[in-house]
């Protein structure tokens, strides 16, 4: 088994890109047998790429990206002030600046990313089961976890390709319209931003895959995913506000108490993946951000208002990134375990 997998590894890179065509044109050039795992991945990718659902989401995302890019380009000239530390990173502003008519690119991603993740995952397992194809699939000589791994990997791959394409498109148009090429550091920051975005969407993807294992009806799974998303985006903030009001320190409170209170509220907010995501992306795309928590006057006094180098920015968001990855892995582990334990019965 292992020998087979390693043997196939060099092939995978090229196969993934072919996705659809290879099945129809009958690539006669290689006679090597493909590991069944990659057969499933290929099928899943081609299913995603040809599905209405995914294409509609791509169009939606592309339109919003172009919209936010347009507002960014129009406001980038007026917004730039001479002595701002972020000015050295004018190109990054394409992703963050807005004139108020449309949200910025990052806000759009943090809003539409969950939708994308949920849409790609909510019927991964249960629709297969409802169609009666799961037991047929399971009767083939494949390991059981191939199915769930392949589904997660295929969706992740599709998301990654889409995000890279989208962001590079934004960059390309940005270069043409503004005439400013990105510096290597800016480019690296953008790549990091893309990777974090993929992690963020992967969290929602795995959450919805988990629901698709748990619930027989795809509609239930989708609703669960969406309600978690709405809870986090709308209600969670309200709940935290209530808690904040109740536990607010008095006017007489000492400085350390106030700081502790602020940190408590912030930590509550950081339980939400979208907060982690926006913390991470703002830090990466605005190099002038030097702390995500409260800063005391002593810490600020004497600080040179200069941007942080990439390494320092990454260090700053490391907890956030770790948290996102951990949440993603947790969701996947849960769905993996409950899928492996399940008895595969026909419909």
């Amino acid at each position: 088994m292992n020998a087979e997998t390693t043997m196939e590894e060099p092939l995978t890179g090229t196969e993934k890109v072919e996705t659809k065509e290879s099945s129809s044109s009958g690539k006669a050039s290689y006679t090597r047998n493909v590991n069944p795992f990659w057969v499933i991945v290929r099928k899943e990718i081609s299913d995603h790429v040809t599905s209405w659902r995914f294409n509609i989401l791509v169009i939606l995302l592309a339109l919003t990206c172009l919209g936010s890019l347009y507002t960014a380009i129009t406001s980038i000239g007026t917004g730039a002030k001479a002595n701002e530390p972020d000015d050295a990173f004018l190109f990054l502003k394409l992703f963050t600046v807005t004139d108020g008519t449309l949200p910025s690119f990052t806000v759009f991603i943090s809003f539409l990313g969950p939708l994308l993740g949920i849409a790609l995952g909510f019927d991964a397992i249960n629709s297969e089961h409802n169609r009666g194809t799961l037991s047929r699939l399971m009767a083939q000589p494949i390991h059981r976890d191939y199915v769930i791994n392949a589904k997660a990997l295929a969706a992740l791959f599709v998301i990654s390709v889409m995000f890279f394409a989208l962001c590079f498109l934004v960059m390309g148009i940005g270069i043409i319209r503004t005439g400013i090429p990105p510096t290597p550091e800016e480019f690296l920051r953008i790549v990091c931003f893309i990777l974090i975005s993929i992690c963020y969407v992967a969290f929602w993807l795995n959450l919805s895959i988990f629901f698709s294992v748990r619930f027989r009806q795809p509609a239930t799974a989708a609703l669960c995913g969406i309600s978690v998303w709405i809870f986090f985006t709308v209600f969670y903030g309200m709940i935290v506000n209530v808690i904040a009001k109740v536990s607010a320190p008095t006017l007489m409170a000492s400085e350390s108490e106030v700081i502790r209170y602020k940190q408590f509220i912030q930590n509550l907010l950081r339980l939400v993946p979208s907060q982690l995501f926006s913390d991470a992306t703002t830090t990466l795309l605005m190099p002038s951000v030097r702390s995500l928590g409260p800063l005391t006057m002593e810490q600020v006094i004497g600080a040179v208002p200069s941007p942080l180098p990439l390494g320092q920015s990454l260090l700053l968001v490391w907890p956030q990134v770790t948290g996102l990855v951990a949440a993603t892995l947790l969701c996947f582990a849960l769905s993996y375990v409950s899928f492996m334990r399940r008895e595969i019965r026909p419909r």
């Binding site: 290879s22 099945s23 009958g26 690539k27 006669a28 290689y30 006679t31 090597r32 047998n33 493909v34 069944p36 057969v39 499933i40 099928k43 169609r131 009666g132 194809t133 799961l134 037991s135 047929r136 699939l137 399971m138 009767a139 083939q140 000589p141 494949i142 390991h143 008895e343 595969i344 019965r345 026909p346 419909r347």
Partner: protein, 319 residues
């Protein structure tokens, strides 16, 4: 021993609420068509799932082609084709694409997979429909596509779970003929489960009767009926029309005195005579000589239905 391709030894499967399969011991020989019979919920499907390693037996061991189904399901599944009860296909894929996908999962490369799929579609008579979306297939066509799907991996054993469910009589006939033909041509071992006794009776070499997780009996249909009805292996039905009641009474008496007759049942218009030998000639003579009209004389053979009912009666009595 080496002839047995499927072997169950002391297999049980218990769920928290009930026992699906209870201490099953069964061996199936290479090349035979074995029918797993029983009412719904008797544990047939669970038995099949355990053979494929899709669920673990609580105790006992299942081996298929010499491989342990629980420990080494991949090897078992490489050699076993399984057609689930309600087989599903990817509806927006054509029949050919569905088969090609299965072939690829079984390690065929792209080109071989396609040619193999086409070959099998031809074998099950779906060549014209190969470009049609599987979602548009009729029930019978889906079942035939399922059969092709099962055969694509060149299995040694095929397991069909309720293959005839929901197909019209003509379709059933065609499907069963196809199964028998394939089994003979390729020397396949076929295990099929069903609760349609008549259909199974036609093609099975041996059957096993399943009730509430227990295998009540196994063997060929004739050996089962001999075991069960050893006291009166022949049942002869004679239809008569008589002018007067006393004639019928006389015939009834005389039939009881015939050598080898064990029981006589009198019904409106016909007698049922159970005997230890073929006494139809004597019965005919008695009826004709006594002045009644003999409408028909029929030797009944015990079928699966009778065997089945007999076992159920026993089961209910024992409970």
């Amino acid at each position: 021993m080496s002839d047995n391709i499927i072997e169950f030894t002391g297999v049980s499967k218990r769920y928290p609420t009930h026992t699906a399969v209870d201490d099953l011991n069964l061996s199936i020989r290479k090349g035979e068509i074995f029918g797993l019979l029983g009412p719904n919920g008797a544990g047939k499907s669970t038995t099949i799932l355990m053979m494929l390693g899709l669920t673990e037996p609580t105790s006992g061991r299942v081996t298929v082609c010499g491989f342990d189904s629980t420990r080494n399901p991949i090897e078992v599944k490489r050699r076993t084709g399984y057609l689930p009860e309600e087989v599903g296909f990817y509806d927006d894929y054509t029949g050919l694409e569905n088969l090609t996908y299965t072939a690829k999962l079984n390690g065929f490369n792209d080109r071989d997979a396609k040619s193999r799929a086409e070959e099998l579609l031809a074998r099950v008579g779906l060549t014209e429909a190969s470009g049609k979306k599987a979602g548009k297939y009729s029930r019978g066509m889906r079942q035939r596509l399922g059969l092709a799907d099962v055969l694509i991996k060149e299995p040694e054993v095929i397991i069909l779970d309720e293959p005839t469910l929901g197909i019209d009589p003509k379709g059933v006939d065609e499907l069963l003929t196809l199964i028998r033909k394939l089994s003979h041509e390729d020397g396949l071992t076929v295990l099929l489960s069903s609760h349609h006794l008549h259909q199974v009776q036609e093609i099975c070499d041996r059957v096993g009767l399943f009730v509430k997780g227990k295998l009540l009996a196994e063997g060929t249909i004739s050996s089962l009926s001999q075991d069960l009805f050893s006291n009166q292996p022949y049942l002869i039905e004679a239809g008569i029309s008589v002018s007067a009641a006393h004639v019928a009474e006389r015939i009834y008496k005389m039939l009881g005195e015939v050598n080898g007759v064990l029981s006589v049942n009198r019904n409106a218009g016909f007698f049922e005579v159970g005997c230890s030998r073929d006494a139809s000639a004597d019965i005919a003579r008695i009826i004709v000589e006594s002045g009644a009209d003999l409408r028909h004389l029929q030797k009944k053979e015990y079928g699966l239905d009778d065997i089945y009912n007999h076992y159920f009666k026993e089961k209910i009595e024992s409970v």
